[in-house]
């Protein structure tokens, strides 16, 4: 795939690198890279891949741009608020480099569509903010034989690693299972705006190296970054022979969505809308409600329902005894996801009839009390 005169001018600084040169730039032009998640990580990664001349660049995200994204998601600006991230990002990348083809995938990645989507790409970058999606991406890449560059962030800390099927461990080798109740994402825990800039550009660097076939990729090497201490650490991680997807006897042979809540659990959880909970709290004849807010401490401090107690979801397994004496606790979080995980934990511990505030405090603020600050 030869370069035009315009492309030779645009990529002159790459052509001057003996490690890249015309051959490497032509490989970049022929490359098809999918960036899953147009967020803090996907923004810088996609911008640099577009600028570098990655010939086909896919951007997958089902969300819309929010004001709180702009602190770190440099792919977007204020004029893009409420627009589809995939579409707004596609326009920005096409404007940055009209020589490349940019495809917008404004949809949610699922087991049902992952094969068809990944089939059109040679390399995948994972910048999603859900652990369940990280496992889906990893499993699909292993099964389809696609290299994957994965990064993740939390507050001031980040991780990045490259997975090449047949050449080292996969994501499940490093972290075989997601924790019960998940781990906090950026919205829940906060994140330094520039942090994903560091990790996302590392992802783009790895992608360019893999495509050009130069350097030493982060295969079998987990790189961590602590922005507060300004330290990088590198750890050797080996493939697990008992890995569920890339091991010697894999039990996962098809991409799959995370297991839904077991029917018995789903049926045993009472689902309270904000309106119903508000009525119950006002009803003097109703039994006293025990409200348990499972958000992080800083979120609780910013604003919470009167009378609620704070037990962050991560601490709940060892603090279940604190709520065991109460009948029918009501679990609360920001949007209803962590509180449902808390209900499941409570049921497994034998606590009867836990309730979940559907839609969380965001729903409460939208329908009952717009003055409630929700971090």
């Amino acid at each position: 795939m030869t370069l035009s005169a315009n492309e030779r001018a645009r990529y002159q600084r790459h052509l001057a690198l003996t490690e890249i040169g015309a051959a490497g730039q032509e490989k970049l032009k022929a490359a098809r890279v999918l960036v899953v998640g147009a967020g803090g990580l996907g923004s810088p990664a996609a911008l640099y891949l577009a600028a570098a001349g990655c010939g086909t660049l896919g951007l997958l995200d089902c969300d819309r741009v929010e004001l709180s994204n702009l602190q770190r998601q440099v792919l977007f600006d204020s004029s893009g608020i409420a627009r589809s991230k995939a579409e707004a990002g596609r326009e920005r990348l096409a404007s940055l480099n009209p020589e490349i083809r940019v495809l917008a995938h404004a949809l949610e990645l699922k087991a049902a569509n992952v094969r068809a989507l990944f089939a059109d790409y040679d390399l995948v970058l994972d910048g999603t903010d859900r652990l369940a999606t990280r496992y889906l991406i990893n499993d699909a890449c292993v099964i389809l034989g696609l290299p994957l560059v994965s990064a993740a962030i939390h507050r001031f800390e980040g991780q990045v690693m490259t997975y090449v099927p047949g050449r080292g461990p996969c994501y499940r080798c490093v972290f075989p299972q997601a924790p019960e109740g998940g781990v906090p994402n950026c919205a829940q825990a906060g994140v330094l705006g520039v942090l994903p800039g560091v990790l996302g550009t590392l992802q783009a660097t790895e992608a360019i190296k893999l495509i050009a076939g130069v350097g030493e990729p982060l295969v079998g090497r987990l790189l961590t970054y602590d922005a507060l201490e300004m330290r990088f650490h590198e750890f050797r991680v080996a493939r697990r022979p008992d890995c569920a997807v890339c091991g010697d006897a894999p039990t996962i042979t098809e991409p799959r969505d995370p297991a839904p809540l077991p029917g018995a659990v789903a049926g045993a959880v009472r689902r309270l809308t904000a309106s119903v909970l508000s009525e119950l709290l006002r009803d003097e004849h109703a039994p006293a409600l025990h409200l348990v807010d499972v958000r992080e401490v800083y979120e609780f401090s910013a604003g919470h329902l009167q009378g609620s107690v704070n037990i962050p979801l991560g601490e709940l397994p060892r603090r279940l005894a604190e709520i065991a004496p109460y009948e029918a606790p009501v679990f609360i979080c920001r949007s209803g996801g962590r509180s449902m995980a808390a209900c499941e934990l409570a049921l497994r511990a034998g606590i009867t009839a836990p309730a979940n505030l559907e839609g969380g405090l965001l729903a409460w603020a939208a329908t009952i009390d717009p003055e409630l600050p929700v971090a």
């Binding site: 803090g40 990064a151 972290f175 075989p176 998940g182 950026c186 060892r318």
Partner: protein, 88 residues
């Protein structure tokens, strides 16, 4: 034996935000027991009821992964506690 334990960001609520602590012990089990005395509850976030490292946690002694609590820790070593992160 004295070592340094570097704490993953999601567990720093147990260490008052401190990223690294000194701890004593000649095995990973002893180091974590020592850490637990000063940071109650932190061990349970890493190790389950069957003394297994939780599948979303990884422990390293210097740069080598420790998959068992019997892993040897020497004077001056650094134990790294790594946690799966989900933010993007």
């Amino acid at each position: 034996m004295s070592c340094t334990v570097r704490i993953a960001s999601p567990l720093r609520s147990y260490t008052a935000g401190v990223p690294a602590l000194a701890a004593r012990g000649s095995t990973l089990a002893e180091v974590l027991a020592n850490l637990e005395q000063r940071c109650p509850g932190i061990r349970f976030r890493m190790i389950d009821e069957h003394d297994r490292i939780r599948p979303h946690m990884r422990l390293f002694v210097n740069t080598s992964e420790a998959r068992e609590l019997s892993a040897v820790v020497r004077d001056g070593d650094t134990v790294h506690v790594i946690c799966a992160l989900s933010g993007g």
